[in-house]
Symmetry: C2
Subunit: 475 residues, 2 copies
Amino acid sequence: MRVPLPRRLGALVVALSFALPLSAQEGGTRIPDEAIGTAVALRDSAMAGTGAFGIVESLTTEIGPRMAGTEADARAVAWAEERFRALGYDRVRLEPVTFPVWHRGHERAEVVAPFPQPLLITALGGSVGTGGEAIEAEVVRFGSLDELKAADPASVRGRIAFIDQKMERFRDGRGYGRVVGARSQGANEASRHGARAVLIRSIGTDSARMPHTGMMRYADDVTPIPAAALSIPDADQLARILERGQPVRVRLDIDAETRGEYTSHNVIGEIVGSERPDEIVFIGGHLDSWDLGTGAIDDGAGIAITMEAGRLIAALPERPKRTVRVIAFANEEQGLIGAYAYAREHGGDIARQIIGAESDFGAGRIYALRAGVKPEAREAIARIGEVLAPIGIAYEAEGGSPGPDVGPMVQRGMAWAQLAQDGTDYFDYHHTANDTLDKIEPAALDQQVAAYAVFAYLAAEAEGDFGSAPRTGGD
Amino acid sequence: MRVPLPRRLGALVVALSFALPLSAQEGGTRIPDEAIGTAVALRDSAMAGTGAFGIVESLTTEIGPRMAGTEADARAVAWAEERFRALGYDRVRLEPVTFPVWHRGHERAEVVAPFPQPLLITALGGSVGTGGEAIEAEVVRFGSLDELKAADPASVRGRIAFIDQKMERFRDGRGYGRVVGARSQGANEASRHGARAVLIRSIGTDSARMPHTGMMRYADDVTPIPAAALSIPDADQLARILERGQPVRVRLDIDAETRGEYTSHNVIGEIVGSERPDEIVFIGGHLDSWDLGTGAIDDGAGIAITMEAGRLIAALPERPKRTVRVIAFANEEQGLIGAYAYAREHGGDIARQIIGAESDFGAGRIYALRAGVKPEAREAIARIGEVLAPIGIAYEAEGGSPGPDVGPMVQRGMAWAQLAQDGTDYFDYHHTANDTLDKIEPAALDQQVAAYAVFAYLAAEAEGDFGSAPRTGGD
């Protein structure tokens, strides 16, 4: 999971949700009663135990880290293709996704004066390096990106800008969007102010000595400068050293660059609909991970949950009416590259892309069902919610947002659902070396498989649609 | 904190504790009533807040990691000397401690086949490197050091031995002694079996991606081979990869060596006794740390607790009868080098070394007072326990062991006390990069300052001794 919902998309979500009253509409979308029984059986079967943990165990063990553009990216694609086939999907295919390749080499930082000691950092995705030699400069601290923006450039010029803003912990992860600008935009603002490099406090909620990586991107108008994240204890340490009031000099030695292009693939498994095979309900996650951990919660869990949900549907005696498509997206982390490729390929026929949901917020249990659908379909979503209520999932008629890889399709007008996960500890591990299999509770995965299986099956059985239609006009 | 109590010393502890009935003895050691009032005031003052957190904040921020023999070792010694003076100690002095210097360079490991991916390791203290180039070999796993010992050398020869024994979590840390042999002796056993290197599962209780370092030592009869610890998630990962049944090849590239000698110092601060200045009650911690973290819980906390306890005693209107000595030991981590130097210097006059206690088990609250004293002094220890009871510390007449740096003096016959800390989470952070200031709760330090101040003050005021006497004969 990479980025918060862009502001434009947020406005669209609200528009879709509230354009009309939320009460049941005449002639609205309906979930047939006979489908409910099957959905309940899917749910109960999943809650009794699924193969999801085994899938994420296989992905994280046999592939491990799988950063976009690495040799492990190709191994992950082959793994996903083979896995879909082994799980009994009707059709499996690859769709190409091409992007520039970011390489991480070494990354070292140390306080040179007044108190020499190492600092643990990791380069941000997309960052340049320090040019083959170390940069040594005085550090100037800012409590937020806004403070840096407002700073006198004379106080920043020639220095290393240090953005030290704390992220707050919430179940829904909303603390992330409030501070992630330091990561995505910190280098741009620092460069505009004449800094030689930018260090940020990791965007995370833990107190482990684990820097959090994540994507940044240089604006066209700036000179690229190196950008790296300090672990949270290291950010605290640097702040304490600065508090002493003496000039603090830091040396950075980062080897990183973007070079060449790579073609990976969205890997797609389908359970072909019995009556309307060209109408698609999609669920999925992203196959790539950052390089530091093994991508267990981000997003091996999402891949495992949705692959296994599809398998349960594929194992039913009859195919659902619509096609259920499970998508393992390529290169989410570096800018939803796979999702945009998917939208270019499939967004032209948006009315047949009935609804989509992505699992990309870790491995915590689902507590809410939300959706961005037409008012006439609210009742159908509420009906899905009734099936999910016994496993701790509440239907919420307002709010929510689609998963990141669903976004580009939503921008084109597709309806979406959100099975909101408990992300209380998600940002303890997110984008760190600590994103490993042991952070996943198998029973929590089973609950999520149950939710995705019920959602995808009932959406595929629904009479009537959820409001997917080409967007016209502004937002 | 480095090593469990040697077996010989354990036997001695039992001998001291149980040689005679534990009941009060005629003519036993007494705590004067008038001293109790002062001790209660010391306790209550400390519980209301102390400067201990500020001391460990200063040490970990201004010095940071301070591995024995590094330039930071010298800065730490200067820091301690200056700090003792600033805190109002009567006398401050340095005593030289000389040892060979172990250097850590880089350390890298990766699975080469069948599933290429990095593994996070750290070299064990004392280890040799891989000789300027990487070692690549097949891995063979053992569930314990004993399994390796029992293995057919043909199954180990030319391979990398992987010792994968789990450590259990206990309040008193007793899980450590059960498995630490893999660290201290793993390379010896592996080398005897013809292995090219040894990898151990970190001796720790966490699930963070943080390898735990710690000391090992080559036996005279073995060819030194590189020894490193995998983080616990990495050990799990390697075990999972091995479970697939294919040959697993790992590449190790470690730069480490022991070269040269260094002279550091035990730093000693004293509050000189008013009546019997040549009788010593000592408390202390160790000043060195491993290089990975900033040595906050191991053992900045112990330094801060005991320095601050001494300061509270120094701030009393009158000096206690005996001298209270606070010792910041040099190089505990690499083999109690400072403690042995201290024992050589002061162990000849053991009867005047009245009693000693070290704080070196993290920063968790103290829950028990135990002691290795003569039977006639049990009543006095129990009386000290009564003063500590209101702050959650129970006197336990049996069991316990002295802190590691107290050990060499106890071997010579010195009485000891143990203020047993809650070490439930100690081995989550022990010897890792994660041993940083944020792991310390300031109020817990205050409670420990209270305990050490009360103990040291009352031991210095006691009428009669605790049984320190030269050891004669075997154990």
